[in-house]
Amino acid sequence: MSTDTQDQSEIFNGTASVGLRDARSVDGTDTRAIPAFVFGEELADLADQDPRIVVLTADLGRSNRATDFAARHPQRFVNAGIAEKNMITMAAGMASCGYIPFAATFGAFAALLGAEQIRTDCAYPNMPVRVVGHHSGMSMGFYGTSHHSLEDLAMMRSIADLTVVCATDAQHLRAVLRLALEHPGAMYIRLGRGRDPEVYGEVPDLVLGRAETVRDGADLTIVTTGSEVHPALQAAEALAADGIEARVLDMWTVSPLDRDAVLDAARSTGAVLTVEEANVTGGLGSAVAECLSDAGIAVPFRRHGVPDEHVPVGPPAALYAHYRLDGPGIADVARELLATSRGTSS
């Protein structure tokens, strides 16, 4: 499509007008080298073979590229308008009639506004609804707290019979969407801005509930998910230059947690750092802490994410740097963790 191939350098240099058709650029971050959101395209491909797939959105089809699905399967696309609660519950009604609905909107509105609908209408009756929360975390940058979903991981993982997964990059998202067709229960699928830097060179072979080791190491383990996998790998590169070998676990299934992977990481690398683009209260870090604590394993451990506060205004990249959630920041936090542990053990 023409909007995919448009040279965005002018846009980010401020020398071109940006309209809504360039929605992927509205957060002000240069994403020129990153593939476009494959959400709608991949589902359209899958729907060519699978008549159960339907896609719903809440007036954000341009943002999440559900438009790519709608163009090829118009009868199976439902725009709910700006009515997220209705969208999620409608999806549950369709699911009860044999369909597999993917209901997509910003994570803030999917998980926070739709939390009760996700619990009562999707998870409790075990409906195969896939609620897709995109532009999650603070990736909406200067749009502010109303558009951030830093609480969704904590909220969603506390719901019984709801599988919570985060997509890491475009190829990983394709794998998640394919896998979602075979899972019987409800899912919350957390996406970033849709132009996430590449981690997986090809579509990975995933097993739901099993973490992916994207880098191995013996000195500590960084347990991370979604948008933080890429900067965690950058951090691991930086640490390697210091002689520190970090294992990086992509804990893409946040609930149910891969407890075996967490326990093995603690036992075999001796230190655990969790990294997430979410409030540290109740999210992935809490899940890992609960796992270690329940098992009686005490290793140097730190939850790293957004502190329990509302974030300031800023472009996404500036916010990641502010909270040390970029590669260099994560590397610094890892060094602090190891230094502290050496200090306490000596």
Binding site: V54, Q75, R76, V78, A80, G81, A83, K85, N86, T89, M90, A91, A92, G93, M94, A95, S96, C97, G98, Y99, P101, E116, Q117, T120, D121, Y124, P125, N126
Partner: protein, 290 residues
């Protein structure tokens, strides 16, 4: 069928429906005694609605509760499920003896209906305001699947204060869901008192009409009128969604409960239980006589 050789006359049919409405009420009182507390009055207001829908209108096959071509019924006012369970048992969806486990630990039958446990329950409910959205999804799915089935939703009038109802009402007309029927049991009371005092939702028919629905009002305790209204609803996969506002009396059938805010949840004990059972068994008396 009690009369396999000849179709019942209209009077016979109406008498049967009145009897089934009476059955809904007495079973509700009986089952509530097992629980020790329950929603009587919100069932009493829709007893005739349940009787007419389940014994005359809905296209169902109890032997195939999951048959894709069936009509769907979603009790959005899920707290009236205690009146639905005996009907489903009576129609053969499950053994009526199972009702005696009502609300006991591990029972399939709680205050609100569980689609995973109860054959014939098309969707779980309980959180008010969700049911119409479920039904919009079902109606969309039915049309997408090329089925001529209909989806029915039973809502309360106080429930209409939930904003999601209006999101769903908007979507239903936007998508032209002529296979969707919403029925409002306008029994006039919520928990805290009269709907008009707590949060007025009338004029219900005019409000839905403004949202693009075809609307009708009917006496919700008159089985003949209900029968005619439902039989006369147009049915198409692409027309306007259909609303039936049933004007009812919360607690209808029990003098002490009629339009009384004290009986949204309650428990009849001892002689009161016997008195109300006798009152209900006699059938509806004209309200003017009270």
């Amino acid at each position: 069928m009690s009369t396999p050789t000849a179709a019942p006359t209209r009077e016979q049919q109406l008498a049967h429906l009145r009897d089934r409405a009476r059955f809904v009420r007495t079973e509700t009182v009986r089952l509530t005694r097992i629980a020790g507390a329950g929603h009587y009055s919100a069932v009493f207001s829709c007893a005739e609605l349940l009787a007419v829908l389940y014994y005359a209108q809905l296209r169902l096959d109890p032997a195939r509760p999951d048959g894709p071509e069936r009509d769907r019924f979603v009790m959005s006012k899920g707290h009236a499920a205690i009146g639905l369970y005996p009907v489903l048992a009576d129609l053969g969806f499950f053994d009526p003896a199972e009702l005696d486990t009502y609300t006991r630990l591990g029972s399939a039958f709680g205050d609100h209906p569980d689609m995973k446990r109860i054959p014939g329950v098309d969707f779980s409910s309980g959180s008010l305001g969700h049911g119409l959205s479920i039904c919009v999804g079902m109606a969309l799915a039915g049309r997408l699947s090329g089925l001529d089935s209909r989806t029915y939703c039973l809502l309360g009038d106080a429930e209409l204060a939930e904003g999601q109802v209006w999101e769903a009402a908007m979507a239903a007309s936007h998508y032209g869901l002529g296979n969707l029927v919403a029925v409002v049991d306008a029994n006039q009371l919520g928990i805290d008192g009269f709907v008009r005092d707590v949060m007025a939702t009338e004029p219900i028919d005019e409000r839905f009409a403004a949202f693009g629905w075809d609307t009708r009002r009917v006496d919700g305790h008159d089985v003949g009128a209900l029968l005619d209204v439902f039989a006369g609803l147009p049915h198409s996969a692409t027309g306007r969604p259909q609303l039936v506002v049933a004007d009812t009396v919360k607690g209808r059938g029990s003098a002490r409960m009629e339009l009384s805010p004290d009986w949204h949840v309650g428990n009849l004990a001892g002689v009161d239980y016997d008195d109300v059972m006798a009152e209900l068994a006699a059938g509806l008396a004209p309200r003017e006589s009270r």
